[in-house]
């Protein structure tokens, strides 16, 4: 090989080295483009959610605020009618409770959207948790003459986030009490199904029309149902519940028939994937 040929060969090697470097840079650029596309899409989605969110919040807060303002005026003008004032205060109290509930749900929703919603797995007793939750809900049920029937099997402690699961149970029973007329029934059962735990909450309430059932687990997915007790719904609770259950690798399903009632079935795995490493330790 003469000098010219050797130079050519050396240049070829150098060109190939440069090509390799250019390819690497190109890979990085395309990776960044991929990340950018993902971020753009996420931002567009977040913006859309935020706009809808603000619209709903404004709408939902305006109603109770109007009620509070209206009844405050009534109290001022009817200061010598104690019975009427008591009624007004009760209505104001309901509006304030609704606003508090709305704010709690909104906080959960924003933390879900921002990804800061955390689940912490510890070994907990699900039967005890349900019993305690029911104890807290009994006064509301008694007040409405709704009968709660329990069928709670004793289950060995397993891994779940007690705070979040209590939130789910409270939400579901609270919904059952909202939409079940006076003298109705709410049935709750928990049973061990080998690798999963099955929780069923069934009510004899007004049910959800079939064409509206798809809205139940979506944010602000309210149905046209009106609570027989005049309760309002913020339309976030079940969406948050679904997220919590799925973060436990579980499922939550709803079956309902208008005028007959609604059944919510939750399947919770005893060893969620994210808790497996804890169990190994």
């Amino acid at each position: 090989m003469n000098d010219t040929q050797e130079n050519q060969s050396s240049n070829k090697n150098q060109i190939e080295t440069y090509l390799g470097e250019i390819s690497k840079l190109n890979n990085e650029l395309i990776n960044m483009q991929r990340e950018l596309s993902a971020s753009n899409a996420a931002l567009a989605k977040a913006l859309e959610f935020k706009n809808r969110f603000i619209g709903m919040v404004v709408h939902d807060l305006r109603n109770p605020l109007t009620i509070i303002s209206m009844y405050t005026q009534t109290i001022k003008s009817k200061i010598d009618e104690p019975k009427l004032i008591e009624e007004c205060i009760t209505i104001i109290e309901h509006s304030a409770d609704f606003m508090a509930e709305l704010i709690e749900s909104l906080l959960d929703t924003t933390s879900l959207e921002s990804g800061s919603f955390s689940i912490t797995f510890y070994k907990n007793n699900i039967t005890e948790l349900i019993k305690n939750t029911l104890k807290q809900m009994q006064p509301i049920a008694q007040n409405r003459s709704i009968h709660i029937h329990e069928q709670l099997s004793e289950i060995e402690p397993f891994y779940f986030d007690a705070f979040r699961i209590e939130q789910v149970i409270t939400n579901i029973i609270s919904n059952a009490l909202k939409y079940t007329p006076t003298d109705g029934n709410v049935y709750i059962s928990v049973k061990d199904n080998s690798e999963t735990v099955v929780i069923v909450v069934k009510d004899t309430g007004i049910g959800i029309p079939e064409e509206e059932q798809h809205k139940t687990f979506t944010f602000f997915g309210r149905t046209t149902n009106q609570s027989p007790h005049g309760d309002k719904s913020v339309g976030l609770g079940l969406a948050v519940c679904k997220h919590i259950i799925e973060a436990h690798d579980g499922t939550i399903e709803l079956t309902s028939k208008a005028s007959e009632g609604t059944t919510i079935t939750i399947l919770l795995p005893k060893l969620p994937r994210r808790a497996m490493d804890l169990a190994d330790k």
Binding site: M1, Q5, E6, A41, L43, K45
Partner: protein, 336 residues
């Protein structure tokens, strides 16, 4: 993984130099290629050493045989003397035996490749779809803009992105690789065609990233040293189109970066890719390390070595292997 692999890997520069010098002694004609030829021979020899080390450690003669067939076609195309592929592998084996005192075990291992036939398709006879042929015409004529516009046009006309991947990008990339191997296109042309495909992909990303929070999370990466990034990118993109949130780390991802990514994103599945068979031991180390701290994380592997040996994924400690992205999707459903 057998220690022999790590011993050879740690001494690969020194062993490759001995092998090249030995080869130059036996065939003085090599000196005519000058210093550039010597540098190339050193690089080739390092690949041979690592291939020998990984095939031997895995006791996978098919892996080595496949590499030998591929090398033989390449060297014949470069008009190197007949038997150069076998001779250079054999010399590398002899040097390993001598320097590591292996009593001819590496040499005997190499001889086994002559006892079996290892077929590597040498003809670029891939059947291309009409769209793929059109795209191919644009890229091979250097019409990058037209190639990308063509892809965007057929997407707007209703072709699904998954079909664009399966009927255009994947067969074209496969064809480009074959054409380079056969010497029908230069390495520069190969890089150019790949870059155009990457640009076309980048233009499609806006259509399938939805911003939705999806049910499952995937991390996809190629191991350190692996520069072939398109196969694992295709996989990540196909998962993204099928209800997965994907984090794509690309070519040559260092193990610490991957470990950090797994801790941060808590994926439901990790997919790792290897095209160059001599990186299989590297992959084995990745899997063992990741499984130590994330025992329950399913790991799927893919790439050429796993197509040659369908059972290899078990030896490397993975939970599954898949030849195509769609197959990987199906297997992922079974793993979760």
């Amino acid at each position: 993984m057998d220690d022999i692999y790590y011993i050879i890997k740690s001494r690969v520069y020194e062993l490759a130099q001995y092998a090249v010098e030995e080869q130059y002694k036996i065939q003085p004609a090599w000196t005519s290629y000058g210093s550039a030829g010597y540098i190339r021979a050193l690089e080739d020899s390092r690949y041979h050493m690592l291939m020998l080390a990984s095939s031997y450690a895995l006791n996978d003669i098919n892996m080595l045989g496949n590499y030998y067939s591929w090398l033989d076609i390449l060297f014949k195309r470069l008009k190197l003397p007949a038997n150069t592929a076998f001779d250079s592998l054999n010399t590398a084996a002899e040097i390993i035996d001598t320097k590591l005192r292996l009593n001819d075990s590496m040499k005997n291992f190499v001889i086994r490749i002559t006892q079996n036939s290892h077929h590597v398709s040498s003809e670029s006879v891939l059947q291309l779809s009409r769209e793929a042929q059109e795209y191919y015409n644009f890229i091979t004529k250097g019409n990058q803009r037209q190639a990308v516009n063509y892809i965007l046009d057929i997407y707007k006309q209703g072709m699904q992105i998954i079909d664009i991947y399966n009927t255009i990008f994947i067969p074209i990339q496969s064809l480009i690789g074959k054409l380079w191997h056969e010497g029908k296109i230069s390495v520069g042309e190969e890089h150019y065609c790949t870059a155009v495909t990457q640009v076309a992909l980048a233009n499609l990303y806006q259509f399938f990233f939805t911003g939705e929070k999806k049910q499952h999370k995937l991390i996809a990466a190629a191991v350190s040293g692996e520069l072939h990034e398109l196969p694992i990118r295709f996989l990540a993109d196909v998962f993204e189109m099928h209800n997965w949130n994907t984090h794509y780390y690309g070519a040559s991802t260092p193990l610490p970066a991957l470990l950090q990514a797994v801790s941060e994103h808590k994926p439901n599945l990790l997919c790792l890719s290897v095209t160059m068979p001599f990186l299989v031991p590297e992959l084995t180390e990745y899997i063992a390390t990741i499984k130590k701290s994330h025992a329950s994380l399913p790991i799927m592997v893919g790439g050429r070595p796993f197509s040659i040996n369908q059972e290899l994924y078990k030896a490397v400690g993975a939970d599954a292997a898949a030849e195509t992205a769609l197959l990987a999707l199906k297997k992922a459903e079974m793993l979760l």
